[in-house]
Amino acid sequence: MSQLSRISQPRSDFLGAAYTGEVFKSNLFKFQVDELLGQLRPKSNKQDAVVEKELHLLKSTIDAIPARAPLSTRDAEAAMERNDGIVVPFPYPRPPKDANYRLQYAKPAHVNAVGSYPLKTITKNEDSLVVDFVVTMPSDIFQEKDYMNYRYFYKRAYYLACLAAGIKSSIGNKYSLHFDYLHGNRLLPVLVAEVKMNLAHSRRSFSIVILPAIAERLFPMEKLLPNKNCVRPNHMAGDSIPSEKEPTPFYNASLRANAFVTAYLKLQHDASRQCDAYKDTCVLGRIWLRQRGLTSRVEGGGFGNFEWAVTVALLLQSGGPNGKPAFSSGYSSYQLFKATLKYLASKDLSKIPQTLGGDPITFPRGQGVPVLFDGIRGLNLFFKMTAWSYRLLQHEARSSVALLNDSTFDQFSAAFILRVDQPVCKYDVNIKIPIDSLSNIAQDEDSTAWLDERCHDVFSCLSQGLTDRVKLVSVHRPAEPQWNLNSSPTAMEQAAYISVGLLVDPTNVHRLVDHGPAAEEKKAAVAFRKFWGTRAELRRFKDGSILESLVWSKKDHGSTILQQIIFYILNRHLGEPCAKHSTYIGDQDTRLLSPSLKGSSLNESSFQPMMAAFKALEDDIRALDDLPLHLRHVLGADSQLSHGSVEVPFAPGRTRMSTPADVIIQFEGSARWPDDIDAIQRTKTAFLLKLAELMEDKIPQLIARVGLENENSPLLNQAFLDLNYPTGAAFRLRIHHDREATLLEKRLSAKGMVTLEKAETALALATYRRVFIRQPAHTQALQNLVTRFPALPTAIRLMKKWVSSHLLSPHLSEPLIELFVTRTFTNPYPWQTPSSATTGFLRTLIFLSRWDWRNEPWIVDLGTGDMKANDVAAITTRFEAWRKIDPALNRVVMFAASSIDVDGTTRTDHAHPPKVVAGRLTALAKSAVRVSKEKGLELDFESLFVADLNDYDIIIRLNPKFTKSTGASKPKHGGFKNLQLQLIRNSHEEDNVGYSPVNLFFRELEQKFGHALVFFWNSYGGDVITCLWNPQTEKRPWKLKVGYSTMPVGEPESDAVSVTANKGAILNDIARLGGDMVLDIKVKTS
């Protein structure tokens, strides 16, 4: 204990602790781990006393159970049922009727508690306190050969039933008693006694697992090694005994595990005495496993707290080179934790079995079951695992090792706080296969074994069929329920299903053609044909090779290629009913983002025309000869140019862009530019006029128009050039001149300026930086990220869609949303980089819901790769400075910085979004996360995108005639392409490019009524604008300038006059301003 307290309290000489870098990742990490451990370590002695008392009572009860004379199996079972009302939980297959051994009960050799409770590695946060209570059966009730043919297990089952009978008859009313399988292992039933009372000061339930075991050395280890057979086939007399007997590793390991329960407790005790940090490592591992939904039970993967603790203990003793320990006992808990994860992540134990201690033996080739063999105790620790659960464990371990290696961000909550076991967030695709749709179970077959086999079938055929389209196939089978003492194990419910989770590889998942083996490789080709059936065809490819191959089509059946393949495989290998009744949960993005393009998978190709058009624009401008200055840059500065706009901008010849894409151009420096901000604006306008003329001359049918903005503020950019290409592409060019920044800075530092003027200049400088520097850099960075993370753009589009369907899009600028989503990709922990848009989106929601924007900055590495902890610290300092300047959050509410924009306020300055919107965003994200958690696989994805209008004070419905203008507009004409192009041009639709009356209306509403109301709108074609009254519009003492239309209210008893917002008049104002665009205005009646 003294060691524990040393770790939990920072040492007094902090220089020692200040160098925790290696030992503890970082100070911040260490402090948080310390705190976590301190909080989870159970300390209440009161509770211990209760538990002790309970265990003592149980021990004395068990000791008092009378012995039962040996009986034949049949008699023993019948007597038990008749006299005690207990069905003996015999494992499958049931004992033969003519068994010549007898079952009996005698006083146990000893009883004691094992597991995490006596080790004190139990944590407080778990819902229930479970104490494992071992009852060691006396050796004399067993015979030498009892390890064979389930005999041990039958005797054990009977012994357990006797224990149950004894407890039930004496103190049975204190508990609710059930049978369960130990860790879901069907050979080892246990008795669960749930204490009918709550522990002191907590609502946790308390149960005792009574677990019969035997002495370690009762059966010889050599007979129970994984390569031995202990279940002889039931052969008739006269059959020749087959010389080669199939090994029964699972059976053997179950028996050994049962014998070594106490030995492992001792091992753990020794480890904790040998290594100070051992217990803390166990607790950390416990939390880590729990957050990832990994348990010791067979259906939970077979790797849980026990396996973790024993693995660490074993590696502290052996596993290193030359038989030395793999881990030093001087490691800190963090180092041990990380090293264990590394060990799990880096070794492939399913291919190369590991033996720790003892002599190496040969292992049978199981179905991908990993082997970590404890040579001294002769047990494969991982015997309950399956090929898929091992892959999943490795996957999680790898993610966490990557997480712990990340030195830029504080990853504490990703490692220990966040929950990572929700299938919809974890897997890109989930498949639900109802159990009763699978081939029927034979009458006398063991249902658990049958289910295990089916899971294996699903796993193997899906992994074989999907090849590198997926990175991980994980199969989850339903848990078996506990059952009552007076019945046999209950069958699984009818509605139970196997769920399969897939992680796709975004670069391969949309592949149209699969290459199989070459025709010459006869054997492989036959296997391929056998697997794929009629789908396989022999094809000759361009490079001359003749290969077995599969060709998939996007258009088929309105589903994605992945879905088609999965259902084809299920149908072929698991039968038609299985394919028919299984549910596919994935690709939700496709349906949401392009309801018209059914089935075609979303990928970057839909933005290809946009990128090509941009390239053409750059080429066209660079090819102009008569420009007064040379061109330096043509930079995209728009989410349409980084694959990230909600709508696909345009399809050439079919649709026209409705919003021109922003482009920044920069000329080479020249001394001829005027040295005056206003004159620079005019010169830029002159440049654009010249450019317009040149472009129109060069490209036939191009329409170039110089437009004006900010015509009243010469400090800002005043002119832009719209280029409408005949193809339908549209660009908005602005000229960047870097002298502007210097002039503005000079102006800002000049003395004797009025505050108002100063604010104006500061605003102009911020706008300049945002428009001309940050935005192009941001777009550039995203363009690069899109090639690295194929799922990123669609996730961004989903997120934008979500934000806008909740009417928040006018408050959260597109780049800000892009920053939200990009974080999930560049700093994905505890998950790995999302490989589908849906998971990217859902995880972003989780991160958003946990973002405490009042106290934390949002920091994103935009993939430039050079972001270091110092940069993060610098940004945090900046953030803290802002909070000091503006503690009430009137100016900067959300602070979002990135590796290319350390300011953090570029997108969010001037209360954009305001506090109310930021709060609403968090609330919405939280409720979406909650719903997705509650619903799990039943989640109706589209329901996340439905806004609730009841929360708003006012709802302004818009005339749909005007709301349709966003989104690519379609020319109505059909016919020949050249005629069509002609028509596009002649229909004067370019007049509508960039024209959105509702947007103008909305912006004007914000400008004119912003002090009284907060407005909400879906800026992608939403047909309602909703509003909330600012709370300060309520009655207050008279003041003239409040910034909204008011009415003077006389106080009833005095001459005093108060002022309150004239709400009726304001609504009338809005109706007048909107004119024909407003259908009606509804006011919420409270």
Binding site: I417, L689, V706, S713, L1040, G1064, R1072, G1075
Partner: protein, 325 residues
């Protein structure tokens, strides 16, 4: 707003008279509504002081967002037949001045007026516009960028000043308003609302793209003017450079030689030099420097440790216990 009808509306507030205006019910919002306009005799504050218009002006607060000069004319005509000379909207007066258009130059801290045809001033003082000022105004208008909005809309709760034909009219208006308010009546507010709605935004969209020739012309005029100003300025500088002042000193000014270095370039060069110097010496030359460096590092680590400790402390205070979800 039935709930509001129970409120007692004050007829005057401080020195303001409250004039209720009834807003027309609309198909999209049929509930009748009343707007409250606050009137007060104009009393300019600060440097401007009262001028000849002051006695016949009224200061209006909380004007309707769609107020126009014709709308106010109609309003006061229906109220008591008062004639309005003009209306000045506060928001329209607060336009930032164009920086370069003032014919001034700051030379070595002294303000020098540059003599060119268009004199200083974009201050639209009401009335008293001499012939010179009119010329200035015209020249400025020629250079100003075309407007992109047709009809202006004011911020909710904006102010304006109405100048009536004479003082008597103004007083009649005040009196009539007071009477109206006491009676609880309201004058109908008529502003041409047919111009609003989508039509207005369409006009804005069209105006955003002014005809190229007009824009070109305005830009040309401006740039010509700007060039003139610049050359006048440089001429002046040149003169200052060559002519000694009365004490016999020649002022040192910028631009003596061709292409003087810009300040920031000079700074960058200095920075580079420093960098090179550092590289040549190669960091710590003396042992004490190494020692100090190490100490500094240690101190930094210590500080960082303390800081992190504080951070975790504040985190704990904020969100309470750390708990895995």
């Amino acid at each position: 707003m039935s709930s509001k009808s129970s409120l007692k509306i004050a007829t005057k507030v401080q020195d303001f008279v409250v004039l209720p205006l009834s807003l027309p019910p609309l198909p999209s919002y049929p509930t009748p509504a009343t707007h409250y306009l606050y009137l007060r005799p104009e009393a300019p504050k600060g440097t401007d002081g009262p001028d000849e218009d002051t006695p016949r002006s009224l200061f209006l607060a909380n004007i309707p967002i769609d107020a126009t000069e014709p709308a106010f004319r109609t309003l006061f005509k229906t109220l008591c037949g008062a004639l309005v000379e003009r209306v000045d909207f506060e928001a329209a007066l607060q336009k930032p001045s164009l920086v370069a258009l003032t014919g001034e130059a700051i030379v070595q801290g002294t303000l020098v007026n540059v003599p060119i045809e268009v004199k200083r001033g974009k201050k639209r003082k009401r009335g008293a516009e001499g012939a010179e000022d009119a010329k200035v105004k015209k020249a400025l208008e020629e250079m100003e960028l075309p407007k992109t909005w047709g009809r202006e809309i004011w911020k909710s709760g904006s102010n304006a000043t109405v100048v009536f034909v004479d003082e008597t009219t103004r007083n009649t208006v005040l009196k009539e308003s007071r009477r109206m308010a006491k009676k609880g009546d309201a004058v109908e507010w008529q502003s041409n609302i047919e111009e609003l709605g989508e039509k207005r935004y369409r006009t804005h969209h069209t105006l955003t793209y002014p005809p190229k020739d007009i824009l070109q012309q305005k830009i040309n005029t401006y740039l010509t003017h700007f060039t003139k100003l610049e050359s006048a300025r440089s001429k002046l500088l040149l003169k200052q450079r060559s002519v000694p002042d009365e004490d016999g000193f020649v002022t040192v000014t910028r631009g003596g030689r061709a292409g003087p270095a810009r300040l920031e370039e000079a700074q960058a060069a200095a920075e580079r030099l420093k960098e090179r110097e550092k590289k040549r010496i190669g960091g710590d030359f003396y042992r004490f420097q190494t020692r100090e460096g190490r100490k500094l590092k240690e101190r930094e680590l210590k500080d960082k440790f303390e800081e992190d400790k504080k951070r975790v402390q504040s985190m704990r205070e904020r969100r309470g216990k750390i708990r895995p979800e």
